[in-house]
Symmetry: C2
């Protein structure tokens, strides 16, 4: 079962999805995530467990879907007047969001879900935002590295360290990644 935005359209289907998402958020406020089960979510949302299995396939994918919704781009990317400033601001904002316990849960839930659409949405959040920044740079007549290179040089190391390091990356480390990435922008 895959997650895609298409399932969000439509009246009844959208309302059912909404109530299931709300049920998950409510349960996560009062329970450890390891204790939440599909039948609990179903009961809270007033649907049958099979409705949830049919739509999401498993609990990990449902948790990832709910988590991702909180991190969809909201277009609040500060415009600092230059691409280096914009990229640094976004990278710091991303570090801040993703090294929070909510952000780490989101990354964990998405990584845990055996659903490539779902993982893809997580990566899309970054590339969508980077495209906003490179569009701005182009409009200003600035040089800028390709978004894919920024992902490899800045965001991949950040995400890797958030998920796998014993200690979370800090702002200095992220600034260094951004500086190195920008110094090779002609590559």
């Amino acid at each position: 079962m895959t997650i895609h935005k298409g399932i969000r359209t439509g009246g009844r289907s959208a309302r059912v999805q909404q109530s299931i998402h709300e049920a998950v958020k409510l349960l996560l406020e009062s329970h450890d995530r390891a204790d939440v089960t599909v039948p609990m979510v179903a009961q809270q949302a007033g649907v049958t467990p099979s409705t949830i299995y049919r739509r999401w396939g498993d609990l990990a994918t449902l948790l990832a879907d709910v988590a991702l919704e909180r991190f969809e781009p909201d277009d609040k990317l500060p415009d600092t007047g230059s691409f280096p400033g914009d990229l640094m601001a976004y990278a710091e904002q991303y570090l801040d969001e993703m090294s929070s316990s909510l952000g780490r849960s989101m990354l964990r839930d998405v990584a845990a879900s055996d659903d490539s659409q779902c993982a893809g949405r997580c990566a899309d959040i970054i590339t969508t935002r980077l495209t906003i920044l490179t569009d701005r740079a182009q409009a200003r007549g600035e040089d800028y590295p390709p978004p894919d290179q920024v992902v490899d040089r800045v965001f991949a190391p950040m995400v890797y360290r958030i998920i796998f390091s014993k200690t979370a990356p800090d702002v200095d480390y992220v600034r260094q990644l951004v500086d190195q990435c920008l110094s090779e922008k002609s590559a």
Copy 2:
């Protein structure tokens, strides 16, 4: 509950751990991982569920522990006679292992586990192997980049794309990462 190698020593404790690991492997051969539960593992291993909860905390951490064991360094790193050759060989071997369904499951299980020791072990697998390669380079009198830089430039982008991309990274992409990393080794 944290995973650490210390729990592997000792007679009875080691035997119990071994039988629980074997039970997990056996169950995963015949069941979807989403269907495996702690009580099932306990029954298969002939222990009580509380033994498992006490030692691993939750199922995700147990699955991650079992998965990690399969990827512990086995010192079979090919010696190609030069650091660039050794690094390329290891990077290709890592891509091969981790983009397999077993490797992806391992990365997912480790990422899903709320246990920093466990995630740290996954990162340690890479740095341990890189240290073997840089030790060899040093013995040969070669220049080489610091292992941390190789992690950021080569392994973090690879892992990020294996977990989050809709399409898995290929060998050409990994070669490009290694070439770029080596071209900056004086940094």
